[in-house]
Amino acid sequence: MGSRPARPPGGRADGAAARAGAGGAPQRRAAHPTRPERRRRAQLHPGAWWLWALALGTAATRTTNPLLLALLITVSAYVVATRRPDTPWSRSYGAFVKLALAVILIRLLFAIVLGSPIPGTQTLLTLPELPLPAWAQGIRLGGEVTAEALTFALYDGLRLATLLICVGAANALANPSRLLKSLPGALYEMGVAVVVALTFAPNLIADVQRLRAARRLRGRPDKGLRGLLHVGLPVLEGALERSVSLAAAMDARGYGRTAQVPPAVRRTTAALTLGGLLGVCAGTYGLLTAEGAAYGFPLLLAGLAAALAGLRLGGRRSPRTRYRPDRWDVRAWLVVASGVAVAALLALAAARDPAALHPGVVPLVAPTLPLWPAAAVLLGLLPAFVAPDPKEPS
């Protein structure tokens, strides 16, 4: 009996129930195994959070109006503040905000040092200009810094920062590894491998901190680059050892078990997946070339369908089941809808009234808050009211 296929639930469950007799209380609870009301501490589908945040990010790319962008940031921050669970990964929001600030600063610094193509008249200060050789024409170091150039850089940086903060919001609101649960079965194991690889980084940082502390114990300076270089090898060694023991633990817990699949199914899977991917490639090529537009789109669709069918069939090889998969419920729809509405309305506004969404820099004018796009952005607040509150005990 190479790999034992999962028994029908009934057979195994009887034994389980008999063994559970010792527990007493569990049996009572077991009578309603999947009551929807007793959901795990009310959580929204992680995909909904990601779609909502990405939609807000898309909306941010439609405008450079700093007031609208600030409003977008406020909206996402408010939702994060009210709806983020108290977990280690949700604390990453602060890191994303810092990163966004750094992006704005770097953008401004570049505008000051490298100059800007924006023709400006209001010179704020003049930096000594570095003469560059002829082959570096078009690059400028130093020179005049104009208010127009700085404002343009600020608007541009702010847009990028908003995008980053939106991604940070998604990260804080939904654990990325929970997204994995929604992957098709055939891809799940690959997903686990990716997540395990991702946890490598935080562990590595913890190791570096520990070993630098140990350097201090040996009487060596624990700061500076040299200290960092010296602990490099032991840190990598430690990380490798941990990965190996995790791999052993995963193996012993049944990671990578496969079910017996008839050869016909296996061959069909391979044919569908390969054919599908080829179709996708050919279709994309067709879409991108001028003369292939007619056959490109249907080919792309057919390829996608075949590849998806292949994935689905491939899932049969893996006997995995899902424990309490996240449900896509009405609230998830509402959250996604609010995000998509913001993106769509801002895109519409950008097409109808580009002046309001892209306040002029030359000549410099104070940005005004366009009324109805601002109202549209406020739609993004919906999740703060419809999404379940993670702090409330379920």
């Binding site: 195994r12 569990p26 077991a30 114990l217 032991p234 941990r242 193996d251 049944g254 078990r257 309490r324």
Partner: protein, 554 residues
């Protein structure tokens, strides 16, 4: 349930088999303890049950191992996952997901159990292990005992018929260890699970074992039998057995309760000598001088001092208003739950942690403001993982670096290593040393700078009794030379053996501070076995009892 038939395992590149002649059977529903000194291949035997040896580790396994009728030769670990649950030494490297509930479900998902079955078993297991309140918690935020319970729970949910555990209680405080062992006993009694476990701290587990498999020395065939019989010949044994051997009880008692019943005689005999030994009560006989501050008319300059020390980290108050004076020649045991603040206190004494209020002084210096180079001559810390201190790839290189770091004459460290670790050659790689040897090497490296204050964080994790006894001898000699020593430990037997003073911490506060005998005797979870057996007399260690008997014999 588990059957070993003449098994020997040779790892690649090793000249000799790590274990050989392993031939025994573990019947269904028994709790079998695998005992023996370090380095005899206990982990190899455990790995062979789950198939990780040799499928994952490499090497050659001769003979046959069958689990529930499945031969590990033809079944990979993942194909045994439904009958064998394995928990390794470090629970953290066992976790795949990041919340408790998902972790419990992970194994079942891999096996493809139906969702309603999974749901029911997760609820059962949460109740069985007392984890219901923690179900949504991220695993990284749990304490050591809780993590160990989650690790056990995560392999229990697929209902394996065999559970394999490597040192399940070594890293835990006494109370958390009892918790884990109570769960194991419940599994064996109520669910008929077969448990095979290895553990160095026999005093915690021997009473729960139905049988003991003893690996007496590397390469020697195992001895299987009733715990009392095996303990009579074992090279490793807990204090209760040591006392039983000393008093000549047969069969040997394994629990404090059994021993107390037999101890009437011994208590009577000791009565007389306790009277004569009363003035030294609670303090070690070979202690050089009385070191508690208040005995001195003019207190000596303390080796280390914390005054109203508070440390707050990540909004959590790790230490609160701690006042502690460490005098030269004194050994202090810091005890308390996992997470009580023991390590933080040690770290603030070496300046790794900045106090948020209050002061820390080591000699004349303030640790976190002193350059590392000067600090090593004032205070040394051997961290929980001694390996962190070692960077070089040979013992000789490590010693040369240590001499240079400490600014001492070349050869100082090597001389210390020879003293602490006779028989270790210059070209040995620190990674190839056993846990005990590595600890000794790290200790030698720290001692090279001759710090008057020596701190050790959990020094006995993973040490067998022989290595522990050597450590005790070394530390006593250091204390006699005037070093002040502070140990943070869960090992009550070690504290009883070494410490003059015990400081109990709870939630970052000192809740008891006094001579070992006074503090330890009054606490049921921190009292060593000998104290429990001979109460109401105040004996702490078998060595004390032996000395007293010899005295009366003379």
């Amino acid at each position: 349930m588990i059957r070993f038939e003449d098994v020997s395992v040779t790892y690649d590149g090793a000249p000799e088999p790590t274990v050989r002649g392993i031939d025994f059977e573990v019947p269904e529903g028994e709790l079998v303890l695998l005992a023996g000194p370090s380095g005899v291949g206990k982990s190899t035997v455990l790995g062979a049950v789950s198939g990780l040896v040799p499928h994952f580790t490499g090497g050659t396994l001769r003979g046959r191992v069958t689990v529930a009728g499945r031969d590990t030769r033809t079944h990979k670990p993942r194909e045994l996952a439904d009958v064998v649950g394995t928990v390794g030494q470090d629970p953290l490297s066992h976790f795949v997901t990041d919340t408790v509930e998902d972790e419990l479900a992970y194994g079942m998902e891999s096996l493809g159990l139906a969702p309603d079955v999974m749901r029911r078993r997760v609820e059962e297991t949460l109740d069985l292990l007392g984890l219901a309140g923690l179900r949504d918690r991220p695993i990284a935020t749990l304490s050591g005992g809780q993590q160990q319970r989650v690790a056990i729970g995560s392999v229990l949910t697929p209902h394996p018929s065999v559970l394999v555990l490597d040192e399940p209680t070594s890293a835990l405080d006494p109370a958390a260890a009892e918790e884990v062992l109570a769960v194991l006993q419940r599994l064996v009694h109520d669910l008929g699970t077969t448990v095979l476990m290895a553990e160095h701290r026999l005093e915690r587990v021997i009473q729960y074992a139905d049988q003991v498999v003893l690996l007496p020395s590397p390469g020697a065939p195992p001895i299987l039998g009733d715990p009392a019989e095996v303990m009579a010949v074992s090279p490793v044994y807990p204090p209760v057995v040591a006392l039983g051997r000393l008093a000549g009880w047969s069969p040997l008692p394994l629990t404090v309760r059994d021993a107390r019943r037999r101890a009437g005689d011994l208590r009577q005999r000791l009565e007389a000598s306790e009277g004569s030994a009363l003035q030294g009560r609670g303090e070690l006989r070979d202690q050089p001088r009385t070191t508690r501050t208040r005995h001195h008319s003019a207190p000596p300059t303390p080796s280390g001092e914390a005054r109203a020390l508070s440390v707050t980290r990540a909004r959590i108050q790790a230490l609160h208003d701690i006042t502690l004076t460490i005098t030269p020649g004194e050994t202090i045991a810091l005890m308390g739950r996992n997470g009580a603040g023991k390590s933080t206190l040690l770290n603030s004494l070496v300046g790794l942690v900045k106090p948020s209020s209050g002061t820390v002084r080591v000699g004349e210096a303030t640790p976190h403001r002193t350059a590392p180079k000067d600090l090593v001559r004032k205070v040394g810390l051997v961290p929980q993982e001694p390996r962190d201190l070692l960077y070089a790839d040979t013992v000789a290189a490590e010693c040369a670096a240590a001499d240079q770091d400490a600014g001492t004459d070349p050869g100082t460290c090597r001389a210390l290593v020879t003293e602490l670790l006779p028989g270790v050659t210059d070209d040995t790689h620190p990674r190839d040393l056993s846990e005990g040897q590595r600890l000794a090497l790290a200790l030698a490296v720290v001692l090279t700078a001759r710090p008057p204050l020596l701190l050790l964080d959990e020094p006995t994790r993973g040490l067998d009794y022989a290595a522990k006894a050597r450590l005790v001898t070394v530390l006593r000699a250091l204390a006699a030379e005037g070093h002040a020593i502070v140990l943070a430990t869960h090992d009550v037997e070690l504290a009883a053996e070494l410490a003059h003073r015990v400081v109990l911490l709870a939630e970052g506060e000192v809740i008891a501070d006094g001579p070992t005998a006074d503090v330890v005797v009054s606490s049921p979870s921190f009292a060593p076995q000998v104290t429990k057996i001979l109460a109401p007399q105040h004996w702490l260690t078998v060595a004390q009892v032996r000395a007293a008997q010899e005295e009366t014999g003379r």
